[in-house]
């Protein structure tokens, strides 16, 4: 019955020792790393753990509302997935939490299966988020290696222009364009034109003004 997790860390923020400790034990029994904090401040001070992580957050905290803290996190660009727990949640509270992207909203007492399922979802989401962030970073790195000319060529090529159209637009020889294009493919580590187009989409560098049939 024990779900075995492939790594991951669960942060718990709850002012109640009992709740915090019991969640810690539950997550550890499922093979997860845990970081327990009694206040949002302590959590912020400790910083985000490495690798996929999620945050189990009590809605009712002394001095601050958990939902407000969730908002603060989002505003600071800390995209860690949040699972909200509460002693007595009402519908407006739930709606607000879910709208802000909470993975789940669990009333106390919650079942262990529910909690672990929510954590599994949250970790999966974080893993994807982190993977996405990683590929973004890689792409940006590659893009940074391009010269201004090469970037211009990239923008026009992914817009669907043929080499000679690019040459005409940039007032270059077709040969020069070909050389630039070869450099772009190499530097961006693109396997094909389709690959390059996808990357350009991700980077948002397609030259929107250029059109193959209407130069």
């Amino acid at each position: 019955m024990s779900e075995m997790f492939d790594g991951g860390c669960v942060c718990v923020v709850d002012d109640d020792d009992g709740i915090r400790g019991s969640l810690g034990s539950l997550f550890r029994s499922a093979g997860l790393a845990v970081a327990l904090h009694d206040s949002p401040d302590a959590f912020l001070k400790a910083g985000l753990p490495k690798g996929p992580a999620c945050l189990v957050l009590d809605v009712r905290l002394p001095g601050i509302n958990g939902l407000d803290f969730q908002e603060t996190l989002a505003a600071q660009g800390m995209g860690i997935p949040v699972i909200l727990i509460t002693g007595h949640g009402d519908i407006p509270m739930t709606v607000r939490g879910m709208k802000m992207g909470a993975v789940d909203f669990l009333p106390k007492p919650f079942s262990d299966e529910q909690m672990l399922a929510a954590v599994a979802t949250a970790l999966e989401r974080d893993r994807a988020r982190q993977a996405g962030a990683e590929s973004d970073a890689r792409l940006n790195e590659c893009y940074a290696r391009l010269t201004p000319r090469e970037r211009e060529v990239l923008g026009l090529v992914v817009a669907g222009l043929m080499n000679k159209q690019v040459a005409a637009k940039m007032e270059l020889s077709e040969i020069t364009v070909k050389i630039h294009r070869g450099n772009v493919m190499r530097k961006m580590e693109a396997q094909s034109l389709a690959d390059l187009v996808r990357m350009a989409e991700q980077l948002g560098v397609r030259d929107e003004s250029a059109h193959r049939f209407n130069i």
Binding site: G18, S22, S29, R60, G87, D112
Partner: protein, 506 residues
């Protein structure tokens, strides 16, 4: 019967009158006819004294006058021809004697008459009084207890059995459930005694031994019908009564008053209870949370314990840790429930020793969740080693709870960061003062009006909270008041006597 007696009395008076006249004539004859040279006329004083028995002032005066005339007449008859000499001196002595006797007799009769009137008035008051009075002869008890310091049980018993009732009015008979006062006179009160009455008698006797002449005690008898009667006794020993021969006892039937007081106390206890339940009702959400929290933890610990067991390599240390926490969280939930149940309990006021410091802490703990929800910061100032108070712990907690919740509600309009409740406990020479101050807008009305029943500023309030708080504090011998603090906000303060001070005051 009465007629016969009257006749007899009149006949005796007539015989006596005739005898007195005969005596006067005899003395006259002796004076005139006998050759005796003595002051025979002095014997007329006997005649005067005899007339006093008729108890008529006029008669005695007339007798004196007539006797004086007879003496003078006797002198002139026997000594008319003589010159003034020893006979005239004897006459003068006799006249002075008669005169003095007559005057003294008359004065004595007037005094006796006064006494009779006073006595009649006393009897009239005694019998007509609407409240029970009886006279007891406690001379036996006096002999028994003379020279003793304190009467023991046996002495009290004997004293009770020998203290006869000499007289009692109708109200006294009615007090003991009797039809006629004759049923009471001549007997004792032993048959009406209860253990309480015996204890009271002991105290009365002790006070009497100590020389007190007026003693007031409340006690309980069982009347002739078997009903309990609460009586406020006032025992008086009249000044001239040295040996407790005539002890005057007045009894006031306070049964009804006591029953009313009991009912009043019951009603008050019920009201106090209802108000406490109402206060708990306000805290229902917090209390539910307070119980839910450890229960959630407990369930999760139990589930995670199962998971540690179900692992490929079960971890005994982790399972044991989980079980420990199951126990501690279960206990925590039970503690919360016990606290609430103590508050919801409906019981007669008790006399416990109260540790105020722990009570204040516990009350803040109970309200912690609610105070947190309302963003109230609590500041507590409490000296070490507070003297213990005596009273009902639950009622005292009710007062603290009410004052703190009031403070919390008073700050609802204040910015969340500025809601501060200060609880200050101050030890004073004979008392302990507790001040609960809020940082709200203060009291807009006359502070004293807050304590009148049904005064409320809240839409769903009953307006009884503070009124009940005050009656609780007052029943503990303390005071509760409110005022505005010079630096803003309201302060509610109560002051309670410490255990020792209250006993010495009582």
């Amino acid at each position: 019967m009465a007629h016969e007696a009257e006749k007899k009395r009149r006949l005796a008076a007539q015989v006596q009158g005739v005898a007195t006249v005969a005596l006067a004539l005899g003395i006259f004859a002796l004076d005139v006819l006998s050759p005796l040279q003595g002051a025979v006329a002095v014997l007329y004083t006997i005649v005067v004294l005899l007339t006093t028995r008729a108890n008529a002032r006029g008669l005695t005066l007339t007798a004196g006058f007539v006797c004086a005339l007879l003496a003078i007449a006797g002198y002139f008859i026997s000594h008319d021809h003589e010159a003034l000499g020893s006979a005239a001196v004897r006459l003068s002595v006799a006249l002075v004697a008669i005169g003095v006797t007559t005057l003294l007799s008359v004065r004595h009769m007037a005094a006796a008459e006064h006494r009779r009137i006073a006595d009649r008035r006393y009897r009239a008051i005694f019998n007509a009084a609407g409240f029970p009075i009886w006279e007891g002869d406690w001379s036996e008890a006096f002999r028994l207890l003379r020279g003793k310091q304190a009467p023991d049980a046996e002495a009290i018993d004997i004293a009770a059995r020998t203290a006869t009732i000499c007289d009692a009015n109708h109200a006294a008979a009615a007090l003991f459930g009797l039809e006629r006062r004759e049923e009471l006179v001549g007997g004792t009160l032993v048959r009406f005694h209860t253990p309480a009455a015996e204890a009271t008698l002991g105290r009365i006797l002790q006070a009497m031994i100590a020389g007190e002449t007026t003693i007031e005690e409340e006690t309980r008898f069982i009347d002739a019908r078997g009903e309990p009667v609460d009586v406020l006794l006032r025992v008086t020993i009249p000044p001239q009564q040295k040996e407790w021969r005539q002890v005057l006892i007045m009894g006031l039937d306070v049964t009804e008053r006591n029953q009313t007081n009991v009912r009043l106390a019951q009603a008050q206890a019920q009201l106090t209870h209802v108000s406490r339940i109402t206060t708990l009702g306000q805290l229902a959400a917090s209390i539910a949370h307070e119980v839910n929290q450890p229960l959630s933890a407990l369930i999760t610990y139990a589930k995670s314990g199962k998971r540690w067991l179900a692992r490929e390599a079960p971890d005994a240390a982790e399972v044991s840790d989980c079980l420990d926490h199951v126990v501690s969280n279960g206990t925590r939930a039970a503690d919360v429930i016990a606290r609430i149940r103590a508050l919801a309990r409906r019981a007669d006021p008790r006399q416990d020793a109260i540790d105020l410091a722990s009570l204040v802490d516990e009350t803040i703990e109970l309200l912690r969740r609610d105070l947190n929800t309302h963003d109230v910061t609590v500041e507590v100032t409490m000296p070490e080693g507070l003297p213990p108070l005596v009273g009902d712990r639950v009622q005292m907690q009710q007062v603290l709870m009410n004052l703190m919740l009031n403070a919390e509600q008073a700050m609802a309009q204040v910015a969340p960061g500025a809601r501060v409740m200060c609880v200050e406990v101050v030890a004073e020479p004979d008392s302990v003062a507790v001040h609960v101050r809020d940082s709200g807008g203060g009291i807009a009305v006359e502070p004293e009006s807050l304590f009148s029943p049904f005064f409320t500023t809240k839409s769903e309030g009953m307006g009884m909270g503070l009124s009940i708080c005050r009656s609780i504090i007052e029943s503990h011998g303390g005071t509760l008041g409110a005022e505005n603090h010079p630096d803003g906000g309201a302060v509610f303060s109560f002051r309670l006597p410490v255990a020792g001070a209250m006993e010495s005051a009582a």
